[in-house]
Every structure is written in C-alpha cells, then in structure tokens.
C-alpha cells in the first residue's frame, strides 16, 4: 500500500504540487496502478534477458557540425534588457 507520505515524497522529488482533490484521490488510484504492475515481479530476475532494442553504436553517431539552424529568430519574447521572457501565468 502506497502511503500518503510516500505520495507527498514522490510529488516533492518530481517537483509537483497536488491540489486538494488530487491529494485525496491519488493514493487509491496510484495504489491500484502499482498493484496492477506488480505482476512484473513474477518474471525471473535474469538480467541477461535485457537486450537493447535499438542498438546504436557510438561510431554510428553523426559528427558534430556547426551550421545555421534555419529556425526563426527568437525575438518575440525578448525584454528590453535582452532577456527571454515567459508568458504571464493565468
């Protein structure tokens, strides 16, 4: 059973604040989810079965080449001081 304290801790490390309603209903909902994925524990703990599905070798990665991005200049959100400014929170 996942406790209220555990959820609070998870929220803290995930940097999320929960509304009152969420704090009330999440323990039961998350508990059910964890109970559901608990079936995975039946699988053998043989780590050799872990294969990378999409194996990319280091030498297959492209070289870093500096070129112009073609992206739009980010001027619409600049302040007078030249800082980037985010939108106001509603």
């Amino acid at each position: 059973m996942i406790s209220k304290d555990e959820i609070e801790y998870l929220a803290k490390i995930s940097k999320i604040s929960l509304t009152e309603d969420e704090a009330k209903k999440f323990p039961e909902q998350l508990d059910k989810t964890i109970e559901y994925i608990d079936i995975l524990d039946e699988l053998a703990s043989d780590h050799s079965i872990i294969l990378d599905l999409q194996e990319i070798k280091f030498d297959e990665l492209r070289d870093d080449v500096v070129r112009m991005s073609g992206a739009l200049p980010i001027t619409r959100n600049l302040t007078e001081e030249g800082f980037l400014k985010g939108p106001k929170m509603k």
Partner: protein, 481 residues
C-alpha cells in the same frame, strides 16, 4: 453532401494537376465543411487558415506557371499538436505550453511542406499524448463524428475525428501505445504506426522516446502509402531513424500466412469478436492462409508498457521546470522550493499520475522490481514475436477490445482507461509496424482490425490491407450534415 472535401489525397493531387478544380476551390470546400462541423467536434486546437489559404493560392500559381506542385500539391493536412510547427503554436494540449510557438519545423513537417502539402492547423490530443479518449486535453475533449456522445479515441483523437469528418484530407498522429490506431479504429479511418525508426522523431515533443513514432491517419490505404513515402527515411537529426525502401500499392496479393492472436479476441466484447471473425473470413477469400495462435508473454505487456512509458515521461517532462519552458512569475514572490512546482501544478491529473508512477518505478528499491523487469519483458516479448514472424507473415486481432464508449465512462478509474490499450501496446514494445483498418460497425459505432508485421515489413501490411479494403468496402464518412 459529397464534394471536393470528400476526395482522398491522391484524388486531390490528380484533380488539381489535371485542372479539374483549383487548389483554392478544394481548399474552400474543406473549410466549408470545417466551419459546419468544428463547433460540434472540437478536433482542432489551433487553426492557421489564412496562411493555409495563401499556400493553396501558391499551388495554383505554380500550376499556371507549369511548375511542379509536389507529390502532395494542395492536399490539406492536419497535424497532432505535439509535433513542432515553425510559427504555429504547439501546445501538446497542455496549459504548460499554451503560448509556445516553435522556432523550427519537425522533420516530418519539413518533408510534407517540401512536397506541397498545406498545413491547416493543430489537432487535439490527450495532454502530451497521455490518454485514450482526448478527455485529458487541457482545453476540451474532441467528439466522435459517428456519434457525438462518444469519445473519438486517443491520444490522437483530433487527428482521427478531423479526417473522418472531412475537416482535413489526411492527418499526422503519434503512437506511443496505440495513439494512432485507437482513434483510427474509433473513427473508421486507416491509421499506421510505422516500425520504430522508419520515421524521424525530430520535432515530436517527447513523451516516451523508446516507444513512440509519428504516422499517418487517412481515409484509404492508398493515402497511407502516399504519406508514408514522404515522411519516412533517415534523418541526421534523429539517430534512431533509418532508411527504408518505399512502399507501394500492389494489385496482386501474395498468399500470406496469417495468424489471429486468440488471446486478443477472447478479451474483446462480443460485437467486436463477431466483426473481427467475419472480417478474417475475407482473408481466405483473398487467398491467405489463416491460423490461430497465443502469445505467452501477453499478460505482462500492459504492465510493462505503463512502467516504461511512465518512467520515460517522468524524465522527459522534467524539462518543464519554469526555466526552459514556463511562465513569467513576479520576482517578489519568488521562493526556491516552489519556483518549479508552482508552474508544474498546471499539468493535468493524468500527466501528474504518470510522473509520480514514473518517479516511483525509477526510485532505488523499486528500479529492479519494476523498471528492469519491464525492460526484460520487452525483450522477451520482442523475441517471441520475431519467432512468430518466422512462421507467419502477419498477426491480426481487434485494434480495440471494446467499442467507442461515452464521455466520462472511464475517466475516474485510471486502470480501466489503461486496459483499453491492451491490444495496441504490443507493437510499441516490440518496435514493429501495425495498422488499424476499418472493418465494420456495431450500433453505428466503428470497429477496426489491427494487423501487425515484422520490423520494416510495412509492405506486407499495405498489401493485405489494400486487398481487404477492396473486399470489405466500408463506409468511411459519418453523416454530420
């Protein structure tokens, strides 16, 4: 009422090239339909009508000047709102990104534009792609064009509904655990999740990178082929992308060995079962061999999927930290411990649940109990499927185990909601291609058949889907007049 908006993409391009109608005339017909139905469907989050109209005029101008209009010249396309579009707001249906305007195009968008496609706007989804109904969109849910009281499926619900209703001719969705195939099934359109790596993910806003792919939603198999050949291919901006041979429409079908996944049929509602069995009878009519099989690791697929997807989501969504993406909070109220969470409280409930589950399965003590086991299962499942594909060309079953359902039916019970993805997550875990093809209706609600193939065997999916499409000839357009 049938009109130019009813045409399929290949018919639109032919019609414009032959001068049967102009790009602008076809565009106006699509806009007229959109204006007529959008207030009831809510498929779109953002429309870029003026820019789209000027693009249609450019196509007509090019044609007059005898210039090439491109393989998709004039075709109106809708884009799921988690795919970056230069200069068009891209929200992921999240409050966190309500004012975010990307400064660059995703590779798939670049390729569509280079081929003359017209981007009409951005389509609704469950926030960041997390959901199966669009009810988790932070703006509004999209309605199913076949019955407005029902969900259109998700997470690419806007992409499915808009194409079915004629608000655009084709659309792009993204599929992490079924998000293209589910709305394709619920809206009676064709949706393809490509092999992992076939289509570049550059510019797709990340939710679970190891599972997701961008793919087309269309009204015909022929259109799927057309779009796939444009968006597929190696992209230097996505190192998991690979080059692949183009696919094509073949009029002659090879004699494929096909296996029905019995477990997926057994877990489905009776109406779905009946329709899938009667559709599969057509396979012998078109000359294919049919067998029945079971998948040993199927029971573990969905728990494994939700473990991996949540783990990747919790890591990916950490970037919305109020520094790189966020809001302009007054500096006087600035507090270190709440600076991040004050903004991150704007995530919707489902996103928060998945971030919390993700943090849980990745935390020490639980990492080997859940996350490592889930990755192990993923390998076992893929090996099992690859073995099956040595014997069979294709595996089939229902795309969704149930019919489209009413709004609110599952929203308060996350597990009930997760269970609807049970048939689709297999392809994402194994990285294989899968298509959803409309095969019937029950009480006016659409049913889709899912066909899966070995990695990069999209051609087989297309061959059999095209033959089946001709044999079944199902209604694709709802009556919304």
């Amino acid at each position: 009422m049938s009109g130019l908006h009813d045409l399929q993409a290949y018919e639109v391009v032919e019609g414009i090239k032959q001068g049967l109608f102009s790009a602008e005339e076809y565009f106006s017909s699509v806009i007229k339909t959109l204006e007529h139905v959008e207030s009831r469907l809510h498929s779109f989050i953002t429309l870029d009508t003026d820019k789209a109209l000027s693009c249609a005029k450019v196509i007509d101008g090019k044609l007059k000047a005898n210039e090439d209009i491109g393989q998709l010249g004039g075709v109106v396309v809708g884009i799921k709102d988690n795919i970056s579009t230069k200069g068009i707001r891209t929200t992921c249906a999240s409050k966190l990104l309500e004012s975010y305007v990307p400064s660059y195009d995703a590779t798939v968008i670049q390729r569509l534009k280079q081929n003359g496609a017209i981007i009409l706007g951005k389509l609704n989804l469950d926030e960041f792609g997390m959901g199966s109904t669009t009810e988790y969109s932070s703006y509004y849910p999209t309605h199913n064009p076949w019955n407005l009281d029902y969900v259109p499926g998700g997470s690419s619900g806007g992409s499915g509904a808009a194409v079915a209703a004629g608000e655009c001719t084709v659309s792009l969705g993204s599929d992490t655990g079924g998000s293209i195939r589910c709305p394709a099934s619920f809206c009676s359109v064709v949706g393809l999740k490509p092999t992992y790596g076939r289509v570049s993910r550059y510019g797709l806003i990340s939710y679970a990178n190891s599972l997701e792919q961008i793919g087309p939603i269309c009204r015909s198999v022929k259109d799927v082929v057309m779009i796939m050949n444009i968006i597929s291919g190696k992209d230097n901006k996505d190192d998991t992308s690979m080059s692949s041979s183009p696919i094509t429409i073949n009029n002659k079908l090879e004699k494929f060995e096909i296996a029905i996944i019995k477990d997926l049929i057994d877990g489905s509602d009776d109406e779905v079962k009946r329709t899938i069995y009667s559709a599969s009878e057509k396979f012998s009519d078109i000359g294919c061999m049919l067998d029945e099989i079971s998948i040993k690791h199927l029971n573990y697929a969905l728990p494994s999927y939700y473990t991996l997807a949540s783990a990747e989501a919790s890591s990916n969504l950490a970037r919305y930290d109020n520094i790189r993406y966020g809001f302009n909070l007054p500096i006087e109220e600035y507090k270190w411990d709440t600076y991040f969470s004050d903004v991150r409280k704007n995530f919707g409930e489902e996103v928060k649940r998945r971030i919390l589950i993700g943090s849980y399965v990745l935390s020490s003590g639980y990492y080997s109990k859940y996350y490592l086991k889930a990755r192990g299962l993923r390998s076992l499942l893929k090996l099992e499927l690859l073995k099956l594909f040595k014997k069979y060309d294709l595996l089939i079953g229902p795309t969704m185990p149930i019919l489209p359902f009413k709004f609110g039916e599952k929203i308060d019970d996350p597990i009930k909601m997760y269970l609807v993805d049970i048939n689709t997550v297999i392809a994402n875990l194994a990285g294989i291609p899968a298509i959803s093809l409309p095969v019937g209706f029950s009480n006016g609600l659409p049913i889709g058949l899912q066909i899966m193939a070995a990695p990069f065997e999209e051609q087989k999916l297309i061959d059999v889907s095209y033959a089946l499409e001709q044999a079944i000839n199902i209604q694709r357009r709802p009556k919304l007049e």
